[in-house]
């Protein structure tokens, strides 16, 4: 009966575990900013817990450095099974500026399976709330790959060519 009550009252209240895997603390400050009364993420039923064993969601910030790699894996394994991982910041998404340096694995998705990415360096608190709302299904996804093509050869390039030829005709140089 208690489990039924829990299922009815808290179907979408995610408990977050904040894992810093070598971030510069920019993303961590924004994550803490999200918990303040101004951007109140607790109205979605979320709260930060200290232990990964209590958490449903891991907020992973930072490109996973080599010393923190086994610790991140252990924290991920310690979480109970229906679990989500949010990669927060450019570092967790693709490695940031350090995507191919020697001491960094280059992105959180090479270590643990990441479900949602929130780009930004650091992401705005609104961007983090947007990612959270995206996971809850409150908003629609806006990011999509863009493909741009120059369908025809640029005409003004031809004109520039022509002008250049007119300016550099050989007899004008001789004269």
């Amino acid at each position: 009966m208690l489990s039924k009550l829990c299922k009815r009252t808290a179907p979408k209240s995610l408990w977050l575990y904040h894992c810093n895997s070598g971030a510069c603390n920019g993303c961590d400050i924004e994550i803490l900013n999200v918990l303040t009364p101004y951007y109140d993420v607790e109205r979605f039923g979320m709260k930060v817990v200290a232990s990964p064993r209590h958490a449903d969601v891991m907020l992973l910030s930072g490109a996973v450095t080599r010393p923190s790699l086994p610790l991140v894996k252990r924290a991920y394994d310690a979480m109970p099974s229906p679990k989500l991982v949010f990669g927060i910041g450019s570092c967790a998404m693709g490695g940031g500026c350090w995507f191919d340096t020697y001491n960094v694995t280059g992105g959180a998705d090479k270590v643990v399976p990441v479900d949602y990415f929130i780009p930004g360096c650091p992401p705005r608190p609104e961007a983090i709330i947007y990612g959270v709302a995206l996971a809850l299904g409150l908003v629609d996804k806006k990011a999509a790959p863009v493909e741009l093509k120059q369908m025809e050869f640029p005409i003004d390039a031809y004109r520039r060519n022509e002008a250049w030829e007119k300016r550099n005709v050989i007899y004008e140089l001789v004269r």
């Binding site: 995507f99 998705d109 709330i129 409150l138 806006k142 060519n161 250049w164």
Partner: protein, 172 residues
């Protein structure tokens, strides 16, 4: 005594009102000067590759498919939104937009792919822009370039032609 102080506290709390943003249900504009995702204008772009050379996160990759066609790939997954590409662009083809709602579940969702026609030098056959002369040399992009677009990795040495060993070296 304590009751009046408590009542005063309650009044003070009530006076503050609600400060919480209703953000995901109401749009929230960005402050002035905010740098969001970069946006390309492919009509203005001359393909000089200055943005690719100046990007601190090396998130802009170039591959010359043939002499006339250059593919530029912006991989936003490691972009730090520094705005350096918009600064160095000689044609002002890159603009830092105000988009920040970029959360996605796949890394490929924040990419932009440009396919550009290039002018080629009649003598050497390399890509060349005539009127803004030496733009390529100035931005130190020499010759052809084959970045590993599939693995989103940069090949640092520019080569005359596609070398599979060099591409394989960037595969992790």
């Amino acid at each position: 005594m304590w009751l009046t102080s408590k009542l005063r506290q309650i009044l003070m709390v009530l006076r503050a009102g609600v400060v919480t943003l209703k953000y995901p249900f109401e749009p929230r504009p960005v402050p002035e000067g905010f740098r969001g995702a970069p946006v390309w204008d492919h009509h203005k772009c001359i393909g000089c590759g200055g943005c690719a050379d100046h990007c601190p996160a090396r998130s802009i990759l170039i591959r010359d498919v043939c002499q006339e066609l250059r593919v530029m790939l912006y991989d936003g997954s490691r972009c730090t939104y520094c705005g350096r590409c918009a600064d160095v662009c000689p044609e002002k083809a890159i603009r830092m937009s105000e988009a920040y709602e970029l959360a996605c579940d796949r890394r490929e969702d924040v990419t932009t792919r440009l396919e550009l026609f290039m002018l080629t030098c009649q003598r050497c056959g390399r890509c060349y822009e005539m009127e803004n002369k030496n733009a390529i040399d100035r931005l130190s992009l020499k010759g052809f370039r084959y970045d590993n677009l599939e693995r989103r990795a940069l090949v640092r040495t520019s080569t005359e032609r596609l070398s599979p060993e060099l591409l394989k070296k960037t595969d992790h």
